[in-house]
C-alpha cells in the first residue's frame, strides 16, 4: 500500500503538462508495479521468447459482444479492443494519462480550442497511414447525432462541425464551451482511433494485434501486428474465449486449457493459490463499486439521511467480508488515482450514535427502506448484504431486492432510489461530467448541486493545473458533505494466470492486466 501512496505523492508534485509531454513508452517502462502486484511474481523473466498463442478465458461477455473500438459495451469487449486499437492517449500503469497516438494535444488559453497532432509514421493494419483525418472521422463517428455511440455524451462540448485539418497530422477543434478536461476524457475505452471509412466487418486499428476472427458470445482470435509502431509484440496470436461462469474459468486454468482468466471473486484466491502452475494477481485498482442514494427522492432528499447512511457503514469490516481485506478503503470520493484526489479529508468511519442522531433530527428514526441489488460485479450483492446487516445497528431496516443484471440495467436503471452501481476508473472531471451534473448521462444519484456545477464550469475554463486542482478540491468537499454516493472501498481486480505466462502487469483502473496490455507478454 505504501508504494501506491508514494506514487501518488510523486505525481502530485509533477504537473499535468509534464505528464502529457513525456514520451509514453519511457514513463511506462520506468514505473514499477506496486504493492500486491509486484509481490505476485510478475517480474519479467530475463529472456523473452517470441511466438505462441495466449489463450484467455474471460468473463463478462455475451451475444452483445463487439469489436467496435468506439462502441464498447461489456467487459469482454475491452479485451478485444485493446488489442486492435490505440487511443490518442492512454492510461499508464499508474492510471495516469499519457499520450499514445498523439504527439501533442494543446489547448488555447481558456481551453476552448484544442490542437491535436498525431505521431508520424504510424500505420493502420491495412497499411493506411494515420492522419488527422482519421482523428476527425473517429470523433465525428462517435457523436453522430443520427447514431450516437456510447461515448457521445461526454464529448458534447466539441464543435466538430467547425473542426479543421491544419496539415496531414494536425487538426484544430473548437469547443462550444471551455473543455479543459478534454485530455482526461480521452483515455476512456470508448475513444479508440479508427480509420476513415471504418468497417465493422473488417475491423482495422493501429493496435498491437490484428483481427482474425470473431464470434459474439463465443470466441475471437487476433494475430501479431508485425508493423506495430511501438515494436511488434512477442505473441503470435491471442485467442479470447467467453466464459459464463467463474467455476469453469478456474477449472480451465487448472486443467491447462487457458493461460489467463479474469474477474474472480475473493474466495477464488484460495482456490488458485498454492496450485502448481497457476498464479493469482490481486490488483489494487480504483474502479468503483458504490452505493447510490437519489438526492431528489425521500428519504435521501434530506442531506442528514445521506450523511447518516455514510456513517452507518463499517468500511473495514465490509471490505474484510467481501474482499478479504483486499482493495483500497474509500472516503465517498471517486477517481482515487487522479492527482486532484483530495487525501486531506478525514477518513470517514462508522459512527452509529452520530448516524442515529442525524436520522432522528431528519425525522427518520427506525427507517425502513428497499435496496436494489444485482450481481453486476464481483462482490456487489455481498456488499449489499453486509450493508443491510450493519444498518441494523442504527435501527435502519434495509430490505434487499435482488434483480438480474439485465433487469437492473433495464428501463428503471438510473431511477432506483437506493441502489448500487459499478464503473471502472475515470479521472475526476470526466467522472463528474459522466455522473454528477444536471444532465449527466449516468447520474444515478440525480445530483445537481448548483455550486458544484458552477465550480465545474469554472474548472473547465481553467488551463492552469494548480488552479484547477483547487477547484477540484472545492468540488470534492461538496461530494464529501452532500454527495449521493457511498464509496466504502475501491474493489480489487482479481485475475489469475498460468506460470507459463510472463510479463503480465496489473494496472489500477480495474481493467484486468493493465488494460489488457499483452504487447510485452511472452510464453515459456
Amino acid at each position: 500500500m505504501e508504494e501506491h501512496e508514494q506514487d501518488v505523492v510523486k505525481s502530485n508534485g509533477m504537473n499535468r503538462q509534464e505528464f502529457l509531454t513525456r514520451a509514453s513508452a519511457g514513463v511506462l517502462g520506468a514505473t514499477v508495479a506496486g504493492g500486491l502486484g509486484a509481490r505476485a511474481a510478475m517480474a519479467a523473466a530475463p529472456k523473452p521468447k517470441k511466438g505462441g498463442t495466449l489463450r484467455c478465458g474471460f468473463g463478462g461477455g455475451s451475444a452483445t459482444d463487439t469489436v467496435d473500438g468506439d462502441n464498447v459495451i461489456n467487459n469482454m469487449d475491452f479485451a478485444r479492443t485493446y488489442q486492435l486499437y490505440d487511443g490518442l492517449v492512454a492510461y499508464d500503469q499508474n492510471a495516469h494519462v499519457r499520450l499514445q497516438l498523439a504527439e501533442e494535444i494543446t489547448p488555447n488559453k481558456d481551453a476552448s480550442v484544442w490542437t491535436i497532432r498525431v505521431k508520424p509514421g504510424i500505420e493502420f493494419h491495412n497499411g493506411k497511414p494515420l492522419t488527422a483525418d482519421d482523428v476527425l472521422y473517429t470523433l465525428r463517428r462517435i457523436v453522430d447525432p443520427k447514431k450516437p455511440l456510447v461515448g457521445a455524451p461526454t464529448l458534447s462540448y466539441l464543435d466538430l462541425k467547425n473542426a479543421k485539418k491544419l496539415d496531414k497530422r494536425t487538426c484544430r477543434i473548437p469547443c462550444h464551451a471551455p473543455f479543459a478536461s478534454f485530455v482526461d476524457t480521452l483515455p476512456n475505452y470508448t475513444y479508440f482511433i479508427s480509420p476513415v471509412g471504418f468497417d465493422l466487418k473488417k475491423p482495422v486499428g493501429t493496435g498491437p494485434f490484428k483481427f482474425q476472427s470473431f464470434t459474439p458470445g463465443r470466441q475471437s482470435v487476433f494475430v501479431r501486428n508485425e508493423n506495430y509502431w511501438d515494436g511488434p509484440p512477442y505473441l503470435d496470436s491471442i485467442v479470447i474465449t467467453d466464459f459464463a461462469d467463474e467455476e469453469s474459468q478456474i477449472n480451465a486454468l487448472l486443467a491447462g486449457q487457458v493461460d489467463v482468466i479474469n474477474f474472480l471473486s475473493a474466495p477464488s484466491i484460495a482456490t488458485v493459490q498454492g496450485r502448481s502452475g497457476a498464479n493469482i494477481n490481486i490488483a489494487t485498482g480504483a474502479s468503483l463499486l458504490q452505493f447510490t442514494m437519489r438526492v431528489d427522492a425521500k428519504p435521501f432528499n434530506d442531506v442528514r439521511v445521506r450523511q447518516a447512511m455514510r456513517l452507518i457503514i463499517d468500511r473495514e469490516q465490509m471490505r474484510k467480508v467481501v474482499f478479504l481485506d483486499h482493495g483500497i478503503l474509500g472516503n465517498d470520493l471517486f477517481s482515487y488515482w487522479d492527482p486532484v484526489y483530495d487525501r486531506s479529508l478525514p477518513q470517514r468511519k462508522q459512527d452509529i450514535p452520530q448516524a442515529k442522531s442525524l436520522l432522528k433530527k431528519a425525522g427518520y428514526e427506525n427507517l425502513s427502506i428497499d435496496f436494489i441489488t444485482a450481481p453486476m460485479g464481483q462482490g456487489a450483492v455481498q456488499m449489499a448484504q453486509v450493508l443491510a446487516q450493519q444498518a441494523k445497528a442504527a435501527g435502519v431496516n434495509i430490505h434487499l431486492r435482488q434483480l438480474t443484471v439485465t433487469n437492473f440495467f433495464g428501463p428503471n436503471y438510473l431511477k432506483w432510489v437506493f441502489s448500487q452501481d459499478t464503473w471502472q476508473y475515470f479521472p475526476y472531471f470526466p467522472m463528474v461530467a459522466f455522473s454528477s451534473l444536471k444532465g449527466s448521462p449516468a447520474n444515478e444519484t440525480h445530483f445537481g448541486d448548483p455550486t458544484y456545477g458552477k465550480l465545474y464550469k469554472q474548472a473547465l475554463a481553467t488551463v492552469d493545473v494548480k488552479k484547477r486542482t483547487e477547484l477540484a478540491r472545492e468540488m470534492q468537499r461538496i461530494d464529501y458533505e452532500k454527495g449521493g454516493y457511498i464509496i466504502p472501498f475501491f474493489p480489487p481486480t482479481i485475475d489469475a494466470y498460468s506460470s507459463k505466462v510472463h510479463g503480465l502487469k496489473e494496472g489500477k483502473t480495474g481493467v484486468p492486466f493493465n488494460q489488457h496490455n499483452y504487447k510485452r507478454v511472452w510464453l515459456s
Binding site: 478465458g57 451475444a63 452483445t64 459495451i73 447514431k147 463465443r218 459464463a244 486443467a255 439485465t406 440495467f409
Partner: protein, 311 residues
C-alpha cells in the same frame, strides 16, 4: 398419423406465440440489453428504432412469422448476425452431445438392466441397483463438478475441464472435449432406464409363456431374446424417449458447467439479452425436438406391440 403431424405443427405455432408474448412481458428489451450501462433515454430510443422495437408487438411478430415462409429466420437483434449462422453451430453441438450421451446411455442402461434382471437377487443385482439408485438422487451439476474435480482439474489431469469448441470446429472433431459432458449426462440418465429395463425384463421372465418356453427346453439365451425381450421393448422405448427429452432440457445445466457452446447456453444468453428472434428459434427448435421424439417413441412402441397395431 397425418392428423398427428398437423397437430404438431399447430403446437409449434402456439408455442411461438406463447414465447413471443412472454418476451413482451419481460422487463426491458434488446436495446437496453445492448446498451447496458450506457442506456441513456436518447440512446435507447435510437436503438429501439433501429431494431424495429418501436413497432406494435403484433407487427413485430408478423414480420418474424412471415419471414419464416420466405426462408429466413431473421437476424439477432443484439449483434446483427443471422440467427441461422449463430444458432446453427450451437444446434449441431447440442444435437451431437445429446446423440452421443443418449446412445451410450441407452446401451449402458439396457445392458445393465438385462444383466441385473438375469442375476436377480444375486450380488451383482444388488450392487447395481443400489449404486444407480444413489446416482439418481444427484443433480447433473453435482455429477459434472465431481467429474471435473476428479478427472480434469484437481485429482488427475487426464481430460479437459471445460469443453470449449471453437467456432468453425465440429463437435466430432473434438471428441476428447465431449467425454466429461457426455459422461455426466449418461450418469444422470442411465439409472432410470436401468430400473425400467430390469423391472420389465423380470416381469416378462416371470410370465407364464416364458415359463412354458423354458419347460419346452429352449436355451436361456433364446428364451430371453425370443420371448422375454419383445415384451419388455414397449415400456423401455417409452423410457428411452423420455430420457432423450430429458437430455434436451438437462443439457442446459451441463453446457453451463462445461462452458459447452450449445443451444442451452445460447438460449440463456438470448433471454438475458431479450434477443427475440434468437429466443424464438431456439425454443422452437427444442419444441420441435420434443414433438418429434414423442412421435418417434409412439411409433416404435406401436410397432413393438403388435396387438395395438392391428386394433
Amino acid at each position: 398419423m397425418w392428423r398427428r403431424v398437423a397437430l404438431s405443427v399447430l403446437t409449434l405455432f402456439v408455442v411461438s406465440i406463447v414465447v413471443f408474448s412472454a418476451t413482451q412481458v419481460l422487463p426491458g428489451n434488446a436495446a437496453y440489453a445492448v446498451l447496458g450501462h450506457s442506456a441513456t433515454p436518447q440512446a435507447v430510443q435510437a436503438l429501439e428504432k433501429q431494431m424495429g422495437l418501436d413497432r406494435p408487438a403484433v407487427k413485430q411478430y408478423w414480420s418474424w412469422f412471415s419471414g419464416l415462409f420466405e426462408g429466413h429466420l431473421g437476424k439477432s437483434l443484439v449483434n446483427g448476425e443471422s440467427v441461422a449462422s449463430l444458432i446453427g453451430p450451437r444446434l449441431e453441438n447440442s444435437a451431437f452431445l445429446v446423440a452421443v450421451a443418449g446412445l451410450v446411455g441407452t446401451l449402458l442402461g439396457v445392458l445393465l438392466g438385462l444383466w441385473a434382471a438375469l442375476r436377480r437377487d444375486k450380488p451383482v443385482d444388488h450392487v447395481l441397483s443400489v449404486t444407480l439408485l444413489a446416482l439418481t438422487s444427484l443433480p447433473e451439476f453435482v455429477v459434472g463438478i465431481v467429474l471435473v474435480l476428479v478427472f480434469a482439474a484437481v485429482l488427475f489431469h487426464l481430460l479437459p475441464a471445460v469443453s470449449v469448441i471453437s467456432p468453425g470446429q465440429a463437435p466430432w472433431q473434438a471428441l476428447k472435449l465431449l467425454i466429461l459432458p457426455a459422461a455426466t449426462l449418461v450418469v444422470v440418465t442411465v439409472p432410470y432406464l436401468f430400473r425400467m429395463v430390469r423391472a420389465a425384463t423380470i416381469e416378462a421372465l416371470e410370465s407364464e409363456y416364458v415359463e412354458m418356453a423354458r419347460l419346452n427346453g429352449l436355451s436361456p439365451f433364446r428364451v430371453l431374446v425370443r420371448h422375454a425381450l419383445p415384451n419388455a421393448i414397449a415400456p423401455t422405448v417409452q423410457v428411452i424417449g423420455l430420457n432423450f427429452l430429458y437430455l434436451a432440457g438437462g443439457i442446459v445445466v451441463v453446457e453451463f458447467v462445461f462452458a459447452y457452446p450449445g443451444i442451452g447456453q445460447g438460449l440463456v444468453d438470448a433471454v438475458s439479452d431479450r434477443d427475440i428472434p434468437m429466443i424464438q428459434f431456439s425454443v422452437l427448435a427444442l419444441a420441435a425436438f420434443y414433438v418429434f421424439m414423442n412421435i418417434v417413441t409412439d411409433v416404435i412402441s406401436l410397432v413393438a406391440t403388435p396387438r395395438r397395431l392391428f386394433r
